[in-house]
Assembly symmetry: C2
Homo-oligomer: 174 residues x 2
C-alpha cells in the first residue's frame, strides 16, 4: 500500500541509517509535522472557497463560522477556541464590521468585552458559505468510513485537550 508522501521523497531508499546513539525523526510518522501538513492542505483548499467566492480571510471565516453556530460570542472566545492571536481576531472583526457583516454591542455587565453577532447580510453570507464548507468536508473525508471519521474526531479531541493543557497558560492567545 504505497503512499503519497513516500513517493515524493523516497527517490532512492536513501533514508539515513539509524545509529543507536543518533535518534532520527521520521517525518512520515512524526505527528506534529504530519498534522501541520494535513492542516495546510485542507486550509489551502478551503480557503479558496471563502477567499475567492466571499472575500474572507481565514480568521474572518472563523469569526463568521463561530457566529453562525453560536448566536453571539466575544472576540476573546473566538480567539481562544481557534487558537488565534487576539490581534488577529481583532483585525478580522474590524474588517467584518466595516463590511457590515457583523455587529458589536458592548456587554452592559462588563463593558470591556463586546458581544459579536452576524448582521442580516452576514447571515446571508454564512448561509451561502456553510453548505459549501460542509460539501467540501464531505469530499475531503470521503476516503474514510463513517466510523473512521468519528474515531478521528475523537482522537483529535483528546489530543487537542491534552495539547491545551501542555501549553503554558498565557502562551496560546497572547
Amino acid at each position: 500500500m504505497r503512499n503519497e508522501l513516500m513517493s515524493i521523497m523516497a527517490r532512492q531508499t536513501a533514508t539515513k541509517k539509524q545509529e543507536a546513539s543518533n535518534p532520527t525523526v521520521i517525518l512520515e510518522s512524526f505527528l506534529p509535522y504530519r498534522l501541520n501538513v494535513l492542516a495546510s492542505l485542507t486550509s489551502n483548499a478551503l480557503a479558496q472557497i471563502y477567499a475567492e467566492r466571499f472575500g474572507l480571510s481565514i480568521p474572518a471565516w472563523r469569526v463568521v463560522a463561530t457566529l453562525g453556530q453560536y448566536e453571539n460570542r466575544t472576540a476573546r472566545d473566538i480567539a481562544a477556541h481557534g487558537v488565534m492571536h487576539k490581534s488577529t481576531v481583532s483585525r478580522a472583526v474590524a474588517s467584518l464590521e466595516q463590511r457590515g457583516l457583523i455587529a458589536r454591542r458592548s456587554n452592559k455587565d462588563d463593558r470591556r468585552e463586546e458581544l459579536l453577532e452576524l448582521t442580516a447580510e452576514g447571515r446571508e453570507i454564512y448561509e451561502a458559505l456553510a453548505p459549501e464548507a460542509l460539501a467540501f468536508e464531505e469530499r475531503f473525508v470521503s476516503v474514510l468510513t463513517e466510523e473512521e471519521q468519528k474515531l478521528l474526531v475523537s482522537l483529535v479531541d483528546r489530543l487537542s485537550g491534552h495539547a491545551r493543557q501542555l501549553a503554558p497558560e498565557g502562551e496560546v492567545e497572547g
Copy 2:
C-alpha cells in the same frame, strides 16, 4: 466526558437551533477547523523548542529535519513534502546556509536544482534537536495508546493523500 473545547464556548447551551433549510457548520466536529487548531497547538509548542533553543523558524526546522532524515534533497522536494511555498523554503535555505548549517551543491545532471545537505555543524544541531522533538511528540501523543497512535497516523496518511489529489496541480507549491 466533558471536553475542553466545549467548555470554552458553550457558556449556555446556546447553539443555534437548526432549521432544515439552514445547514450549520458545527465547528467542534468540522475537521478542517479541528485539524488546523490541533496543528496550531502542536506547532506553537514545538516551535518554542527550536526557536528559543536553536534559533530556527518553522520552515528552517523542517529543512533541517528533512536533511537529517534524508542525506540530501532539493528545496523543491522539501517544499512539496511539507506543503510550503517555494519562496518560503528558498529563504529558509538561504538563512541556514548563511549560518553554516547546510551546504548546497548543484546537481551536475540538472544544473537548475541544488542538492542540500547538513554540514557537520548542521548535523550537530540536528542531533541535539531530534531527541527533543521526539520527546515532545511522546508527551504529546501520550494520551493515546500505541494502537491509537498508529491508527491516527494511518488516517492522516489517507486523508493527506486524498487531499493532495483534490488540490489542483499547481496550487500547492506555487
